[in-house]
């Protein structure tokens, strides 16, 4: 931890995030690299414990926060949680993330899907427990972000992914029906997250242009992102939409989602700012391969360059990685990211 910079810090992460969402410049940019399952590595607990035990997940996140001093708790393991709660079957390898074994719709029909109760359906309560624990422990100083798969991603995890993509062309009505129930499940999960004190962050990685065409995104993913965000806006919450992979072809569509912050991955940050920064706050987008495999010196230098671009975003900017930090990324590399971000992130004198 760079003590020199920490001494300059005037605001807590909670206060800093609070200013960002009301269009005020905080003391410095929020720095929220996607430290998710990497926290289990820092806390030295098996991954399977991290994603099946809410208290362990929260404690691992708090340990990672103490190690890195970034600006938020990131509660997340993988994008299958809602699909699993709706009936898809996952395997839990001890030291890997859950693996989709049997998508629900490969064994049963859509009419058999039940809307899950987040308080007792599979691992959804794990997240609620993690939020509750983290919120009680440090919620006055740190925002608690809880990542929620958006309907399109959940829909694909309910189906055989290849079949799902073919059905977007051949059976669009079926896809729409899957989307509708996935949306309801996401709404229900978000509702419980809010009541536990977490801020839902929407993730829709399978809607990225690395996976589907812009047309498919516009027809099947965007309307449901939009409706989910509309629901969250009833609570006046500012919503981050994260889509990793390549999103350059759909950048122009992002304002239509209604998201307040857009988190991008494999796309030129200058281009994102040029197209979106007068309409929406920007989050991103350090390359996760680089954070895993570059030297700390290279990371420092490149993060500095990223900050130079990002912090000019007029509506606000969060310095982040483009996607999740790979689980076994060296601690020195993540520290290099955060230290460099802190050196370059200042708005106030």
């Amino acid at each position: 931890m760079n003590e020199g910079n920490s001494k300059r810090e005037i605001l807590t992460p909670r206060e800093r995030f609070g200013l960002l969402v009301i269009d005020e410049k905080p003391d410095r940019c929020n720095i929220i690299p996607l430290i998710t399952s990497h926290a289990a590595h820092i806390a030295r607990i098996p991954l399977s414990k991290y994603y099946t035990d809410g208290k362990a997940m929260a404690q691992a996140q708090i340990i990672a926060l103490e190690e890195y001093r970034h600006d938020a708790i990131n509660l997340f393991s993988e994008v299958g949680i809602i699909a699993e709660a709706m009936g898809s079957i996952f395997e839990y390898p001890e030291n890997d993330l859950p693996l989709l074994k049997t998508p629900f719709l490969t064994q049963s029909s859509l009419s058999d899907i039940k809307l899950p109760n987040p308080q007792n359906a599979k691992r959804l309560p794990v997240y609620l427990e993690a939020i509750d624990y983290a919120y009680n422990a440090i919620g006055d100083k740190i925002p608690i972000l809880a990542y929620v798969p958006a309907p399109f991603t959940t829909g694909m995890m309910l189906s055989d992914p290849n079949q799902f993509l073919i059905q977007t062309i051949k059976q669009p009505k079926l896809i729409t029906e899957i989307m509708e129930i996935s949306l309801q499940a996401a709404i229900e999960f978000c509702y419980h997250i809010i009541n536990a004190g977490g801020l839902p962050v929407l993730v829709d990685p399978l809607a990225s242009s690395s996976v589907v065409s812009p047309k498919t995104y516009e027809k099947f993913a965007l309307p449901y992102e939009q409706r989910l965000i509309d629901f969250l806006h009833r609570y006046d919450l500012d919503i981050i939409l994260h889509i990793c992979g390549d999103t350059e072809p759909i950048l122009d569509l992002f304002p239509m989602t209604g998201a307040d912050l857009i988190s991008v991955d494999r796309v030129d940050l200058s281009l994102v700012l040029e197209k979106l920064s007068d309409k929406i706050r920007i989050v991103g987008n350090f390359n996760t391969s680089k954070i895993a495999f570059s030297s700390p010196a290279e990371i420092r230098q490149q993060v500095g360059e990223m900050l130079k671009i990002g912090k000019e975003s007029p509506k606000g900017y969060i310095a982040a990685t483009g996607c999740e930090i790979p689980i076994t990324t060296p601690v020195e590399n993540v520290k290099a990211f955060i230290e460099s971000a802190k050196e370059n992130a200042w708005y106030w004198d």
Partner: protein
């Protein structure tokens, strides 16, 4: 349209469940500064919990739609001040006098007065020592009143924008507050100090001087009033310099609006106190009473909310419905509690707050519209309990006790070197033949079983006395 259910106090989760019934069109209908882009404020307590108001999980709230508006509006105040600043309104910190300077500020176009020291509630709503710790770090004594949180707020610039002007009272005001403001000045803020006089009783101390008698029966030397008039003229001149506007007729309108606010609140308080069953909870009523200071940074919308609250209470009183049991014992509450939970807890113990002395009575009385404006404001302020003797401060409590309106008195005492801490013992002495409980309000997280047991025992004694 959302239809109010049977009146009761409900939890945050229960409010969330009720909130699901509210249509989107209703949510977007209620805005501050009439701004549809960012001014919507109709959110349930859970929204504010997400942004860090942790105590909301433990509190209970009135279940009416009017109460939802009230809480959404009050909890949105910090954002509202930043939005006001972004929209080029002038943000004016009016501190320490509690109720008068904002009326002068509101006479100027696009000027928003607010009381930064009201941030003393924030550490409790957030269950957080962030502000108090920072204040100590910046030199505020740890034993000072929780209003010291304001020093940290000025330093952090995250709770309200940098004010365009700061008026702060000194003299017969809270000592801790004055010293904290000296520290704020050391942070580099320019403060326009305003001196408020102590109210010495003419009959006892200054018989030879011309005096003024208020409708409340206070009699004090006229020169105090003359002095205050000059101080208020100085405030006016500063505001005129800031805005380039100098139209006294707007002060008349501003006084009228303040009186309208005061009348609505008096009516709400009276109805609530006189009803057979308490129609509205004490926490909401305290929040309403403090709204008289400045209207929570949008006085027009606040007035509209209060009219809705009044309508709700009127309906409940008419139907003989309320939020507490009929046998709740009426008490008076002296000095406001910075910890909202205590107001909930006292009601849970079977007590009902019907009389209050929250040191803001100058903001509750009507201002004489027939007098010269500044004199009327000065006369209104001279009725402040903050600036008089302890005996005067508790006179209304004594009266309420004599007439049987209340059966006990609760004093919430704060650390510090001023009224709250030093006056409690005096009040206890003056009220010694009556059932009085004085408790120290602990710092956030500090309400121990011991504190609860004392309140519980006090409630039991009051119930027992009825037998």
């Amino acid at each position: 349209m959302f239809k109010d259910l049977e009146p009761q106090k409900i939890t945050l989760s229960e409010w969330s469940e009720q909130f699901r019934q509210i249509e989107d069109a209703i949510i977007s209908k209620y805005t501050y500064y009439d701004n549809n882009k960012w001014g919507a404020y109709l959110q349930p307590p859970a929204s504010f919990m997400v942004y860090g108001a942790r105590e909301l999980r433990r509190l209970k709230f009135d279940n009416s739609f009017a109460a939802l508006r009230l809480w959404g509006f009050v909890f949105n105040e910090s954002e509202r001040l930043f939005r006001a600043h972004q929209s080029k309104k002038k943000i004016i910190a009016t501190m320490g006098d509690l109720g008068i300077v904002p009326i002068i500020v509101l006479a100027f176009p696009n000027c928003i007065p607010f009381y930064p020291e009201c941030i003393w509630w924030t550490p409790f709503f957030n269950e957080s020592t962030v502000l108090l710790d920072k204040a100590s770090e910046l030199g505020a004594p740890e034993a000072a009143c929780f209003a010291r949180a304001v020093l940290a707020a000025y330093f952090k610039k995250a709770y309200f924008p940098k004010p365009d002007r700061i008026f702060a009272s000194t003299g017969a005001t809270c000592d801790d507050f004055s010293s904290i403001m000296q520290s704020v000045e050391h942070l580099g803020y320019d403060i326009i100090w305003l001196e408020v006089p102590q109210r010495r009783d003419s009959v006892k101390h200054t018989q030879s001087e011309p005096s003024v008698k208020t409708t409340d029966g206070y009699e004090y030397p006229k020169r105090y009033e003359e002095y205050l008039v000059k101080e208020y003229e100085r405030v006016w001149a500063e505001m005129a310099k800031l805005t380039g506007v100098d139209e006294k007729k707007f002060l008349r309108q501003s006084i009228k609006k303040a009186n309208r606010l005061r009348r609505v609140v008096t009516s709400i308080k009276t109805m609530s106190a006189e009803a057979d069953i308490a129609p509205f909870p004490a926490l909401e009523l305290m929040t309403i009473e403090f709204g008289n200071l400045y209207g929570y940074a949008d006085i027009d919308e606040w007035l509209d909310i209060l009219e809705a609250v009044k309508e709700t209470i009127t309906k409940r009183v008419k139907n003989n419905k309320g939020v507490l049991s009929k046998d709740a014992v009426p008490i008076a509450w002296i000095s406001p509690s910075p910890d909202p939970y205590l107001l909930n807890y006292v009601e849970d113990m079977g007590l009902r707050v019907v009389e209050t002395e929250y040191v803001i009575n100058q903001a509750l009385v009507e201002i004489d519209e027939g007098l010269d404006h500044f004199r009327a404001l000065a006369r209104s302020f001279m009725q402040a309990s903050l600036i008089g003797s302890t005996a005067q401060r508790i006179s209304s409590i004594n009266k309420a006790m004599r007439t049987g309106k209340i059966e006990g008195i609760l004093i919430t005492n704060m650390l510090g070197g001023s009224h709250c801490a030093m006056e409690t013992k005096l009040m206890e002495r003056l009220l010694q033949d009556k059932p009085v409980l004085a408790i120290d309000v602990p710092a956030p997280f500090g309400i121990t079983e011991q504190v609860k047991t004392r309140l519980q025992a006090f409630a039991e004694v009051l119930h027992e006395r009825r037998k």
